[in-house]
């Protein structure tokens, strides 16, 4: 395993310690619940926004805590939903008069932990709402699964509800906004290599030298199909072919276009994909409103990328453009 790690069991706490030390003025770390929270939270004049989910998707979600984004993130271990206790205690620590919003990527484990926590928090008299994110078009809806997965599109939901909360919006209004953004956001990913969870120490799945996994999940879940590795042009066709008709995004629409790296792919390649996708969208008459290129929601060291579209309107544009300050920064 080619990783910078001490005891793999301490992977998450050591990462969280690093984040806290790197941002001493703005973030607080509560080791008992894997919690990274804004140093100035909770504020009684704003709704508290909380994300959970497993670790291994950094910068999501612990590194997007900050002004205009999350008030707190309480991740579980790598690829494991947080224990219910973490969510409950986090909600209590971030209790606000204006309410608490729990953002949940739609997976069985996360759903159960957050729903249990919500029940118990409500029993303690808190005003808590839960919002599910499920932008991954790779998984078809089905009564058998919990439905579509939440992947990189969660960034847009976090950004929008974070901005609304910062402006002082009420909980119900924030839920409306989050649901709207989620409803116009679609993502599809592709893996070129597997990822290696630190505790496992070996790749999560196998992929031939000339193979790719189309529609891969951010926990290495198999996608729609395994195929021969093709050119960047053809890959973008495949991703757009899955994403565009799903909403559908149509000629005349304006979209935010995200090319998200899954961890092991360098940003040079992400920009190659971006350029191709941008051109192909414009060929379809779909206008790119703004670009988002980089790592937003990763799968450890997996080489791969996902493409996300958000159909824009004035309200969403305003919220996405609102200022925000988080741990992830260049300067």
């Amino acid at each position: 395993m080619k990783k910078f790690v001490n005891d793999p069991r301490n992977f998450v706490p050591e990462m969280l310690t690093g984040i806290a030390l790197a941002n001493p003025d703005t973030l607080t770390y509560v080791p008992d619940y894997n919690l990274i929270m804004r140093a100035d939270a909770p504020r009684q004049d704003k709704v508290s926004i909380i994300q959970g989910s497993g670790s291994g998707h950094e910068p999501a979600h612990v590194m997007v805590v900050g002004k205009g984004m999350l008030d707190g993130a309480c991740p579980g271990d790598v690829f494991a939903a947080p224990p219910m206790e973490y969510v409950l205690e986090t909600a209590k620590l971030l209790r606000s008069d204006k309410g608490v919003l729990l953002l949940v990527n739609n997976y069985t484990g996360d759903k159960m932990a957050f729903e249990m926590a919500q029940e118990l928090a409500e029993a303690e008299g808190m005003n808590v709402k839960t919002l599910f994110i499920n932008d991954d078009v790779a998984v078809q809806d089905s009564t058998w699964t919990v439905g579509r997965r939440g992947v990189a599109g969660n960034f847009f939901v976090m950004k929008a509800v974070g901005a609304a909360a910062e402006e002082g919006a009420e909980l119900d209004e924030i839920v409306r906004i989050g649901e709207k953004v989620n409803s116009v956001t679609r993502t599809m990913g592709i893996a070129l290599t597997p990822c290696t969870p630190p505790a496992k120490g070996s790749p999560l799945f196998e992929l031939g030298d000339d193979e790719m996994e189309v529609g891969v999940g951010i926990h290495g879940e198999p996608g729609r199909r395994r195929a021969k590795l093709v050119s960047a042009d053809e890959i973008v066709d495949e991703l757009l072919g899955a994403v565009v008709p799903d909403l559908p995004y149509e000629s005349g629409d304006e979209v935010a276009l995200m090319i998200n790296g899954l961890g092991g792919t360098p940003i040079s390649e992400l920009y190659i994909l971006y350029g191709i996708a941008h051109r192909k969208l414009e060929e379809k008459g779909i206008k790119v409103w703004r670009s988002y290129v980089g790592e937003y929601c990763t799968s450890l060291d997996m080489a791969g990328a996902s493409l996300t579209l958000v159909k824009m309107d004035d309200e969403i544009a305003r919220l996405l453009e609102a200022p925000a300050e988080i741990a992830i920064r260049v300067f």
Partner: protein, 206 residues
């Protein structure tokens, strides 16, 4: 059976879940995300570390403490699922020091109901339920036939193993493996297999 027996069963589960960390995770790598063993091991290490301090007022209280200790640390799907299962089982023997064969069956039925309620799964969805239910049926049968406790335990183990192996043929309909659709067919369910491993170890040491 005595409360000591209950402790023996819980202790075997605890030790086995720690010992089989890698094996259980490897099972979860085939169609899942490879963390099943890790999650259980972290939760049960917590149980092991606090073992001596648990309130042993009665079997129910003891199991409840175990459930809370364990699920505080198990993330993923298994945290809520296993936590709910043990909690529900604990409820059945609340206040009891002696646990009858019928109690055991009732505990297991309650656990299964809890799991179903929590995660929405049912028999045939390729989860640990597919091992728990046939195992419980076997226990009920053997008890009715008047078998010795050791024989009951052995029959439970056999039924769990057979059922766990049979999950190979099933398509996953719940949990992460469900995303793989038909590709989940051909490998056993990690949760069901864990139940079989635990039942075998319990029978062995009876």
């Amino acid at each position: 059976m005595t409360q000591e027996r209950v402790e023996y069963v819980m202790r075997t589960i605890t030790d086995q879940c720690i010992e089989n960390e890698r094996y259980f995770s490897d099972l979860d790598s085939v169609a899942g995300d490879g963390d099943f063993g890790y999650s259980l091991a972290r939760g049960f290490e917590n149980v092991r570390d606090q073992w001596d301090g648990f309130d042993r007022a009665d079997a129910g209280t003891f199991l409840q403490k175990v459930a809370v200790t364990m699920s505080g640390r198990i993330g993923g799907t298994s945290g809520p699922i296993w936590g709910t299962a043990v909690l529900r089982a604990a409820g059945v023997v609340k206040g009891k020091h002696d646990v009858s064969g019928d109690d055991v069956v009732a505990m297991l039925r309650a656990a299964v109901e809890g799991i179903k309620a929590r995660g929405g799964a049912d028999l045939g969805d390729k989860t640990l339920i597919d091992a728990l239910v046939p195992m419980t049926d076997a226990i009920e049968r053997e008890l009715a036939a008047g078998s010795s406790p050791a024989d009951v335990a052995r029959a439970a183990a056999t039924a769990a193993r057979t059922a766990a192996d049979a999950t190979k043929e099933l398509q996953a309909r719940r949990g992460r493996a469900a995303y793989t659709g038909e590709r989940s067919i051909g490998s056993v369910d990690p949760g069901a297999t864990a139940v079989a491993v635990l039942a075998e170890k319990i029978a062995e040491g009876w």
